[in-house]
Symmetry: C2
Subunit: 227 residues, 2 copies
């Protein structure tokens, strides 16, 4: 079964670390079925800048932000070389034995399955795609180690969750590195999600191979939070 890996846009802030991650993903794609979904990153930040400046509608900004994901997907393709661009779900299914990068605009503009707001980012979009591909795992590669009890940049006592349920994330209305809509879609689609640092690509390998490591598992079913 395929696993969907979303590469967070903020990982593009550090060139060498993103290149290292991409190389590792090319390597991992030889032994695992993986499909890449791009984040929005600096491209989506530009959209947000103009959204604020021109007080754009959420409908238009949603489309512009999805094009930002296409742009970042093209950037990732340039780094990964042999990866194949997938423009729809059939492409992605066809290429899943190789390494494919999904450019989501065609899928999202035609199916338009999610609400149009900044609560829905590439996290939720990658969850929708993972569910459509009946993926085994959704892996969100970010520039943080996982989901914490509080902001680790501000609170030295912050602890990482090894496991937390999507319901818990909704209930606590926790400020975290994932978008506000994601827990709902994980529950609805009964999808397990892993939040892991893209700066430590070996942890992504651990997730794919079911090994314990430093990351957070978000369960779609009720479960006790585990620190």
């Amino acid at each position: 079964m395929v696993s969907v890996i979303k590469i967070g846009g903020s990982l593009a802030e550090d060139r060498s670390s993103l290149v290292r991650l991409c190389q590792k993903l090319v390597f991992l794609s030889k032994k695992h079925e993986v499909t890449i979904v791009p984040g929005g990153g600096g491209f989506a930040d530009t959209v947000r800048y103009f959204y604020d400046k021109f007080r754009l509608s959420d409908d238009i900004a949603h489309k512009m932000a999805i094009l930002a994901m296409d742009q970042y997907g093209l950037l990732l393709k340039d780094i990964m070389g042999e990866a194949i661009l997938a423009y729809d779900l059939d492409d992605a299914l066809q290429y899943k034995r190789g390494l494919s990068i999904i450019l989501p605009s065609k899928i999202m503009f035609s199916l338009d399955p999610l609400e149009h707001s900044w609560n829905v980012t590439s996290d939720s979009i990658s969850a929708f795609i993972a569910s459509s591909l009946k993926a085994e795992k959704l892996i969100l590669a970010k520039d943080v180690d996982g989901i914490f009890t509080s902001d680790p940049m501000k609170d030295s006592k912050a602890k990482i969750f090894k496991r937390i349920s999507a319901k818990n994330l909704l209930k606590e209305n926790m400020k975290s590195c994932i978008d506000g809509f994601l827990p709902r879609i994980l529950i609805e689609k009964q999808l397990t999600c892993y939040v892991v640092s893209g700066k430590h690509p070996e942890r992504i390998e651990s997730v794919l191979e079911g090994r314990r490591d430093l990351y957070t598992e978000i369960t779609p079913y009720p479960s006790r939070a585990l620190l």
Copy 2:
């Protein structure tokens, strides 16, 4: 006959002036057949930032920059309200009696008619589209009054050309506000182009109605430069 108006991305730096331009274009579309092509602006600047940072290939950057034009086109649509989005040349021809905004990615990705370099920007792309639509005029609305003998920001003696031939622009290798490839495509397609300030929308009306005003006409045939 339709006229193609490219709205330069740098005009988005001043919100109120871009909104005023858009309102004028909605008004002008009631009496003239006009089709809008978006520039790239801040969206293309972000592409260029990542192009430099990741030393991306020109092929990939070309595609990313065309998506930047789609993003700016969506922004313009949000301001113009009643404008219709055109995704291909047939759409644009069909809507030319109303006001349409062309999102160029579908056209450019399928036809791929221009070289992939930063010499080709939305100037050349709008010339290609104008030629494909057999447009009467190509109007480039920019944040400058026209093409000058030297940089008017640095040289107080700089004079604006009322008229200059595309061949002259090529020969002199003049640094100007248009992209390096544009003169060639104007000659090849025998297309007349007007460079005009989008901050003075009444000048665009003058071009459409064939009145003398402050702007530069670029002729596709040899002609004596006129100051």
